[in-house]
């Protein structure tokens, strides 16, 4: 059981690393393909994916994080917002909050304040 979990963790890490590598390698025009692939992941996998690219500061990763702010899953959006905050890209985040007022945005902002 433990081995299986480790293998699964390694697999997810490999997927994240691969996604990261492809995101780095691909030109900006391939960003949509990565985003499409991102959309096919489960909620937890999307969270892991965002955690994996959180430390990246390349444009495609930032675009993906911005896109993930509008993710149907609020936890995924929270992960993206947290990643953007950690990366210092608060301008995009504030713009998103300004453009999407409502309860969901308030909850994300409150959670971010908790984690600050």
């Amino acid at each position: 059981m433990l081995d299986a979990i480790i293998v699964l963790a390694v697999l997810i890490a490999a997927i994240a690393a691969l996604a990261y590598a492809r995101a780095r390698r691909r030109p900006a025009s391939d960003g949509d393909a990565v985003i499409d692939k991102f959309g096919s992941l489960s909620n937890a996998e999307r969270c892991d994916f965002i955690f994996a690219i959180a430390a990246l500061d390349d444009p495609s990763s930032l675009r993906l994080l911005e896109r993930a702010l509008d993710d149907p899953c609020e936890a995924v959006a929270l992960a993206a917002a947290h990643a953007l905050t950690t990366a210092g890209s608060t301008t995009q985040l504030e713009r998103f909050f300004a453009e999407h007022p409502g309860g969901r945005t308030d909850r994300i902002a409150a959670s971010l304040e908790l984690l600050a």
Binding site: M1, I12, A44, S111, L115
Partner: protein
């Protein structure tokens, strides 16, 4: 002779074989005559005949045989020159002609006369008429022939007649004529026709015509023709060179011949000259006779009517105004007579100015005349001569393009007849407007420097220097797109502007027509937008488009923009928001507004803040802070930047000492601008109202018992007390123990016999900062005579700042007195009347070398006296903790290591919020507590793994926090276990196990949480750490031991947490993961709540 010939012929016929020819074959052309067998043909006349004469012939024959001759037929011949007279053929007196007048006697078959009986005679008669024209000497032979069935054809005798005739040339039809083809003008040709008619009966031979060439004319070579046939070839010489040539070899009777030749009339010839043609005709038969002469009258006059007389201009096309035009009048006398006194009069229009002195006739200049300069005498011009008059004119300007200027010349001459002719020529003008650069320009008005927001003005001068009007003039303005409010004025009137296309800016103005040599003055105005970049170049150009010339460009007017950023004290300011009075240790929000009122972007905008030393700049929001400067970066014109400064007023500020904030705005390329000083009023007041006065014992005391008094005074205000006078009134029931007074355990000498606080001024404390606490302790002895139940109350007065007087009253201390009769006192070898008294409070402590000592750090006042219940605010080394540490070591023999977690108020708030938000139904809540209270210092040495561990824990648990918000999310070991976190925590536990001592106090922390742990325990856990997963309890149990335990509440929570985690010592990761998510421990949670509540009260 005819007889002999006839006889000879008969002989020849006799000798020849007899050929019998039928009657139809005799008298055939070319056939020989028949032998003369019957000599009964009689002809009248017998010898000669003349034209028109009638010839009668009678033929008689008889049947001399014995039988009847049947089928008898008779035939006569018809010789040339004779014509049968109709109705003259008779047989025995009977006509033989048929109904058409044809006589059978002349037919091929002959006339059938029927049978002729023997001896029967028949008589046949016929008459001929001699033709009108028969050549003289012609022989006519007549013969008759008879035949029957029984007899061959027999010929009669042949009668031969000789014709006599002659020609007749002089007659009415013979004559001469002369006529011209059109008019008999000199030089033209005329034709001479000589007609010769032979009115006689015979041919005229060798007809000769003598026709000399008429005077004033000349023979046209080769023109002589006779009946249309050229004769000079037969003559062998030119017709005019032969005097009497034979023009005809024969001219038959009744025939005509025509001799024609042409002559050219000499030119010139005076009008009316007669040209007479004469001729004589003769032939061999006719002597020469003259014909009636024929004549022509010559018509002649001068003539200037053909195209050789012309009036022309050079050039005639595309003549430009101002250009010289050469006028030429060619007078050519195309007539046949000379023109006398010929003169020419030029008629020039107003637009063509005659150039005097330039006229010539046949290239020769004329004498200058003042009178009638346009009239020129050309003299006599003979026929065929030409005189050329040349003059020059200059075309005036202006003139419309394609206009036509007509000039005329009138040519007059005298006869015959006198006449004149008017000739005209046209000049087609090529004229166009012109806008030369020397008088068309666009010039800048005013300075070459443009200030944003100001207007630009340029003057346009359009002058049509051409010779024609300029039509459809449109002024195109090319302005920098950045310019605003473009307008064009003319004579103070604003012109309407339109765009070149639907989507272009309006930049064209219709100017209509600019007449020749007229000028238009326009003014272009535009406004420089503000802001605008400095040193930019602004250009205004223009072009004039006309229908004739297309586009004419005008030079550009150029301005250089003089633009700078600017700040002033009105638009840029420092403002205090919120409260108007700043109190110590409070944050004041200062709004900074920096507005670029200039016209260019300000780069590296920096606000240098000079803040009074009493205040500290703590936070900056909205700008980048660099020490005391705020960096705003670039600031566009008219833009403003706002920043919020958080100023904290430091403690120790004197009362009413305002805080000043000075700002100085600097930016690239501009002078520093000092802002108006912001003065923040401060209010700092000391407050000693929250002190207490305690006694020990607290409630009851026996007489003679020593009572220790503790006066805790604390400056609970926010200002420094310059002087605080503490005086305590001693009740009579108490006896002061001399020299027992200490201030913060520092002995204070008594004031004479009185305690120091009972002197005139009492104990005077100087410069007591806010929060500083002083404890005055002294001892007194309850008066032995105090009866039981005596209430002892101490009252302390604290006067400070001159006007405040706070009173601190101690709790009531009652004297407890009991009767005692024995006098045996333990310890004494003798009895003693009296009572066992209290020992003295101790040896008086000597003062240190210095007279005045710095008060020790403040200590918290006791609970219930307004101070914080649990937390301690400490600003220096906490001796109590060290004491506790030493105490633990001394009492238990366990060497412990201290931890410290320092919190600012903000961090404490965040931590509490996190703990409230991270409440899950499971032990994982307490992992967040571990993350929140993990210390910053362990032991007295630097713990290098501590900070990375805090960061990694924070990162990992933040992720857990997010993931746990996923619906139905199940934790997995991989959510906790990461290699970096594992190695860092392992190192932390190892370093903590090796740590000794107590960490130093954080100088900036407002709240410190301290704890202690047994390093041996940590070392033991650290040894097992390597084999444990992070998803098991052991790592977290190790970290839990680093949590604070200074207060009972904290210690309680830490103990419960360690106990709970140690309970999973033997559990695997799955069990621990399950507990993290589902194990609910109410006691542990309550302890955490209590700890959080205690911390919350300190906020």
């Amino acid at each position: 002779m005819s007889v002999h010939a006839s006889a000879g012929a008969s002989l020849a016929a006799a000798k020849r074989p007899r050929v019998m020819r039928p009657l139809s074959e005799v008298f055939a052309p070319g056939a020989p005559t028949l032998p003369e067998r019957l000599r009964t043909l009689v002809v009248s006349p017998e010898r000669e005949l003349e034209p028109g004469m009638t010839v009668r012939a009678t033929f008689t024959f008889r049947n001399h045989g014995g039988a009847a001759a049947t089928g008898v037929r008779i035939r006569f011949n018809l010789p040339d020159g004779l014509v049968y007279l109709v109705g003259s053929g008779l047989l025995d007196g009977s006509e033989l002609d048929d109904e058409l007048g044809n006589s059978p006697l002349l037919a091929r078959a002959g006339a059938h006369v029927g049978d002729v009986l023997p001896n029967e005679e028949r008589r046949v008669e016929i008459a001929y008429s001699v033709a009108g024209a028969i050549e003289n000497g012609t022989t006519v032979e007549l013969q008759a022939a008879v035949a029957s069935f029984e007899l061959p054809c027999i010929g009669s005798n042949v009668v031969r007649l000789v014709a006599r005739s002659k020609p007749q040339l002089p007659n009415a039809l013979t004559g001469i004529a002369m006529e011209a083809a059109r008019d008999a003008v000199p030089g033209s040709q005329a034709q001479v026709t000589i007609r010769i008619h032979n009115a006689g009966e015979s041919t005229a031979r060798d007809v000769v015509v003598v026709s000399p060439i008429p005077e004033h004319s000349s023979y046209v070579a080769g023109s002589a023709r006779v009946n249309g046939r050229e004769i000079e070839r037969d003559l062998g010489a030119s017709f005019d060179r032969m005097y009497a040539p034979v023009v005809l070899r024969s001219l038959p009777a009744r025939a005509s011949a025509t001799l024609v030749y042409r002559v050219a009339i000499d030119a010139p010839l005076p009008g009316g000259t007669q040209i007479v043609a004469r001729a004589e005709v003769a032939s061999q038969e006719t002597p020469a006779f003259s014909l009636e002469p024929a004549s022509l009258t010559v018509v002649s006059a001068p003539d200037f009517g053909d195209e050789r007389t012309a009036f022309s201009a050079d050039p005639a096309h595309d003549v430009r105004p101002g250009q010289r035009v050469r006028l030429s009048l060619a007078a050519f006398n195309a007539g046949t007579a000379a023109a006398e006194r010929v003169s020419a009069q030029l008629e020039l229009p107003d637009h063509l100015i005659f150039v005097r002195g330039a006229a010539t006739i046949d290239g020769r200049p004329l004498r200058e005349r003042r009178k009638e300069p346009l009239r020129f005498a050309l003299g006599t011009i003979d026929a065929g001569q030409c005189v050329t008059l040349c003059a020059e004119g200059v075309l005036t300007s202006p003139l419309p393009d394609k206009s036509v200027v007509s000039a005329a010349a009138v040519l007059d001459w005298e006869g015959p007849p006198a006449s004149s002719r008017r000739l005209e020529c046209e000049l087609r003008v090529r004229s166009e407007p012109a806008f030369p650069p020397r008088c068309n320009a666009l010039t800048r008005v005013g300075s070459a420097f443009a200030v944003p927001g100001s207007g630009l003005e340029a003057a346009i001068v359009l002058e049509n220097d051409g010779s024609a009007d300029a039509h459809d003039c449109v002024l195109y303005v090319r302005v920098d797109p950045a310019l605003d409010d473009l307008a064009i004025f003319e004579s103070g009137r604003r012109l309407a502007l339109a765009g070149r296309s639907a989507d272009s800016a309006p930049d064209t103005a219709e100017l209509g027509t600019i007449e020749a040599y007229a000028s238009r003055r326009l003014t272009i105005k535009a406004r420089v937008p503000s802001p605008f970049a400095n040193a930019s170049e602004l250009r205004i150009g223009a072009g004039l488009h006309t229908r004739e010339l297309g586009e004419t460009h005008l030079p550009y007017a150029v301005w250089r923009v003089d633009s700078h950023p600017a700040f002033d004290r009105d638009a840029s300011r420092l403002e205090l928001s919120g409260q108007s009075v700043l109190r110590p240790n409070q944050l004041a929000d200062v709004e900074v507004v920096v507005t670029n009122i200039g016209t260019d972007t300000a780069h590296n905008v920096t606000l240098r803040c000079y803040i009074s030393p009493e205040a500290r700049l703590e936070s900056v929001d909205g700008a980048t802070r660099e020490k005391s400067s705020l960096l705003f970066g670039e600031l566009a014109p008219a833009a403003h930047a706002r920043a919020r400064l958080g100023l904290r007023l430091l403690r120790g500020l004197a009362k009413d000492w305002p805080v000043t904030v000075d700002g100085l705005i600097t930016a690239d390329g501009m002078l520093p601008v000092p802002l108006e000083r912001l003065t923040i009023a401060t209010s700092a007041e000391p407050d000693f109202s929250t002190g207490n006065l305690l006694s020990e014992p607290a409630d009851a005391v026996d007489p003679g018992e020593t009572v220790q008094w503790f006066l805790h005074v604390r400056n609970g205000g926010d200002g420094t007390a310059r002087n605080a006078l503490i005086s305590v009134a001693a009740p009579e029931s108490l006896i002061y123990v001399p020299n027992s007074t200490t201030v913060n355990d520092v002995p204070i000498r008594d004031s004479g016999a009185l305690p120091p606080f009972a002197g005139a001024r009492g104990i005077v404390l100087n410069d007591v900062d806010p929060g500083v606490e002083a404890t005055i302790r002294w001892c007194s002895v309850v008066h032995n005579a105090s009866p039981a139940g005596t209430s002892i109350v101490h009252v302390a007065h604290i006067r400070y700042d001159g006007e405040r007087d706070d009173e601190i009253v101690s709790a009531e201390l009652r004297v407890r007195a009991t009767p005692i009769f024995a006098n045996a006192i333990p310890g004494l070898p003798f009895g003693l009347d009296g009572m066992l008294g209290p020992a003295l409070a101790g040896h008086p402590l000597a003062l240190s070398e210095e007279r005045f000592l710095q008060l020790p750090p403040a200590t918290p006042v006791g609970e219930g006296n307004g101070a914080h219940p649990l937390a301690r605010l400490s600003a220096g080394r906490d001796e109590d903790v060290e004491d506790a540490h030493v105490e633990v070591f001394e009492t238990t023999g366990i060497d412990v290591t201290g931890t410290i977690a320092a919190f600012t108020p903000e961090r404490l708030n965040r931590t509490l919020r996190l703990l409230r938000g991270a409440r899950f139904r499971g032990l994982i809540t307490h992992l967040f507590a571990v993350r929140a209270f993990l210390p910053e210092g362990v032991g007295d040495a630097h713990c290098s793994a501590l900070e990375p561990a805090r960061e990694l824990l924070r990162e990992e648990l933040d992720r857990l926090f997010i993931k746990l918000r996923l619906p139905l999310y199940v934790l997995a070991p991989r959510d906790i276990e990461t290699p970096s976190l594992r190695s860092t925590l392992e190192r932390l536990v190892r370093e903590a196990g090796a740590a000794r001592g107590v960490p130093a106090e954080s100088p900036t922390a407002a709240l410190t949480l301290r704890g202690t742990f047994d390093p041996r325990e940590l070392r033991d856990l650290g040894e097992r750490f390597a084999q444990a997963q992070l998803a098991t309890a052991l790592p977290w149990a190790s970290l839990a031991r680093l949590l604070p335990d200074e207060t009972p509440g904290w210690a309680d929570y830490r103990a419960l947490l360690i106990e709970a985690l140690d309970g999973f010592e033997d559990s695997d990761c799955n069990e621990f993961i399950d507990a993290l998510q589902h194990r609910y421990d109410s006691r542990l949670d309550a302890a955490l709540d209590a700890m959080a509540a205690s911390l919350h009260s300190t906020v």
